[in-house]
């Protein structure tokens, strides 16, 4: 092995150099836009627009963040998103893990029929309007619950968790527990769950990130601004430019416009920081989850 490495031809060496060049370029392409947003959020907007901010902040300022602090909408959105994420993750975990365990048991009569019942929903749904009308008919429109309950079943997550249970829990375990007079529910809550912390972490994190980042359901089902999640609030600031209506003309307007632009950089940072902070700790779990899911394809 060692010898073959030493003898590796010059062609192979070229290949290695090429690889490192490609991946170094990849690093820059991925990281530079993110870095630019960070430095731009701390820089004097005039320096940004004249191209002086490229590697480090210029004319350090916190005006963008200060302006952001005054926007009460953002903090309401933050609070709402934290609540939606917490409650949504708990509900999602409960519903999906329970179903997944049940479906992982080979002695479940009607297992195949249930599986079909679940999988059909991956390919078909009623579409936007029928779902919208159903939500209205359940009186869930414009309520807290519409954000956490109706769409909490994820068949993909169920399949991943089911695969995990099938491969990691030996059938003998259940047989032994049964002989000792342990029922299904007790077995699930006292033995299966403590043994399955890894999969619970993976699925919980998936649901939490999904909740944190989602805006579609809120766009369709939420009308009351007090219930807006963070993503919908920042959409209004970043994309629909709602602030610019109040800006007049002249010197003051120019300053206001610049602060508004600075604030857009700051908004990106403030809304993404929580996920980026937990990301390094959780990314290996995400990885694992994709692998478990991939086994069953």
């Amino acid at each position: 092995m060692v010898k073959s490495k030493i003898k590796s031809s010059s062609k192979d060496k070229m290949f290695t150099i090429l690889l490192y060049a490609i991946f170094s370029l990849g690093f820059i392409i991925i990281l530079y836009p993110l870095w630019f947003i960070i430095i731009a959020s701390f820089s004097d907007p005039a320096a940004v627009s004249t191209g002086k901010v490229l590697l480090l902040p210029k004319g350090f300022t916190l005006d963008g963040y200060k302006a952001l602090l005054k926007e009460s909408d953002i903090w309401i959105g933050y609070r709402n998103t934290i609540l939606y994420t917490l409650v949504g993750t708990l509900i999602g975990l409960f519903v999906n893990i329970c179903a997944a365990y049940s479906l992982s048991r080979k002695d479940l009569v009607g297992r195949k029929a249930f599986m079909t019942f679940f999988i059909i929903t991956m390919f078909f749904n009623g579409g936007l309007i029928p779902t919208f009308l159903t939500i209205k008919s359940f009186n869930l429109y414009d309520t807290f619950w519409v954000m956490v309950l109706p769409f909490s079943v994820s068949v993909y997550n169920i399949i991943v968790a089911r695969t995990f249970f099938e491969s990691s829990l030996p059938t003998d375990l259940w047989n032994a527990a049964q002989i000792d007079g342990c029922g299904n529910l007790r077995f699930f809550f006292q033995i299966v769950l403590p043994l399955s912390k890894a999969i619970i972490a993976v699925i919980g994190l998936w649901i939490a990130v999904g909740q944190w980042n989602s805006y579609f359901n809120a766009l369709i089902y939420i009308k009351n601004p007090d219930l807006y999640p963070l993503q919908l609030v920042i959409r209004n600031i970043l994309i629909t430019n709602q602030m610019q209506g109040s800006i007049g003309t002249g010197e003051a307007a120019l300053i206001a416009l610049r602060t508004a632009n600075l604030m857009r950089y700051a908004v990106i940072i403030v809304s993404t920081v929580p996920i980026m902070c937990v990301y390094p700790f959780i990314q290996k779990y995400f990885n694992k989850g994709v692998m478990i899911g991939a086994v069953k394809g």
Binding site: A99, G126, G127, I129, T131, N184
Partner: protein
């Protein structure tokens, strides 16, 4: 006799495993309420639906709303945009994670490899809203990164977000930027299953590293790639609403109006429930046909299929 015996056993099994059914109930109820009941609601596509009369009381109009869509001036542009963006996205974004996994697998520096992987997954966790917000601020000709770069050379930056011709490329390449690292995970996993003795045999035969990549690694990825390709083809017409809707503006609408954004505007914003459902149903049927065609072809050609 045997049958009765069997059904007696399964009845006993059901009785003994009542706890398992209890665990299933929450998910089943939620799916019935919020997925299966709306499926039934698809019927309103064939009705002149009014919310006060409900699905049972509304008048049946047959295919009238489908005809209305086929004859509307929006029909061809939305279909064309949907298919074009979808195909462009498929052709550009499908091979990149595969190439990335193949090359990454060749990197000998374990640490470099690990760091690159961690960094490349990072953009995947940025929300769609922030992603589109980033595009808008970075591509702003007056205050963004593109403005800075152009002004370095003393040039005026173009307004890419307002240019209809640039829309599809912006959509596709920002998507690749965001997801190609993440999408490569599944291929990296498949590559870790390669039998090392294959490499040793290839080394003995004097194969270069690039040859090993082509003749050993690439074939390992084909089954996974085919399955993913079939699934992508099956959703060709259901191009994601979220990002495109956010990227739309008055200037680029001619090239950015797709079926799902049109369904949203007709249905939710102007409350034409039946018309919107008809368009959506048409879309679903096309998707289903595509899925079946691709799956059948793949079954014949490569023996890889979804069912």
């Amino acid at each position: 006799m045997l049958k009765r015996h069997k059904s007696k056993i399964s009845f006993k099994m059901i009785q003994r495993n009542w706890g398992l059914y209890l665990l299933l109930i929450p998910a089943v109820i939620l799916l019935i309420c919020f997925t299966y009941i709306p499926m039934y609601g698809v019927l309103i596509a064939f009705q002149d639906f009014s919310p006060t009369k409900g699905v049972f009381g509304s008048e049946w109009v047959g295919f009238e709303y489908f005809k209305k869509f086929f004859n509307s001036y929006q029909f061809w542009p939305t279909i064309k945009n949907t298919l074009f963006i979808s195909l462009y996205s498929l052709v550009a974004s499908f091979p990149i994670p595969i190439i990335m996994a193949l090359f990454l697998n060749q990197l000998q520096g374990k640490k470099f490899r690990k760091i690159f992987q961690t960094v490349s997954y990072l953009p995947h966790f940025i929300s769609t809203v922030v992603m589109v917000g980033m595009l808008i601020v970075l591509l702003s000709p007056s205050t963004g990164l593109i403005g800075s770069i152009y002004s370095l050379f003393g040039l005026e930056a173009p307004n890419l977000m307002g240019n209809p011709g640039a829309f599809s490329s912006l959509y596709v390449w920002s998507d690749i930027w965001q997801h190609c690292g993440w999408d490569s995970i599944i291929y990296i996993a498949a590559l870790s299953a390669v039998d090392p003795s294959l490499y040793e045999a290839a080394t003995v035969d004097g194969a270069s590293r690039f040859q090993k990549l082509i003749y050993i690694d690439l074939p390992m990825l084909i089954p996974t790639a085919v399955i993913l390709l079939i699934m992508r083809m099956g959703s060709l017409m259901s191009l994601g609403f979220e990002k495109i809707y956010l990227m739309q503006n008055d200037l680029n609408l001619s090239h950015s109006e797709i079926i799902s954004t049109y369904v949203y505007k007709i249905g939710i914003l102007s409350s034409q429930y039946s018309y919107s459902s008809a368009i959506n149903l048409f879309n679903t049927v096309i998707n289903l046909i595509l899925l079946i065609i691709v799956n059948t072809v793949s079954k014949r050609v490569s023996e890889n299929s979804l069912w």
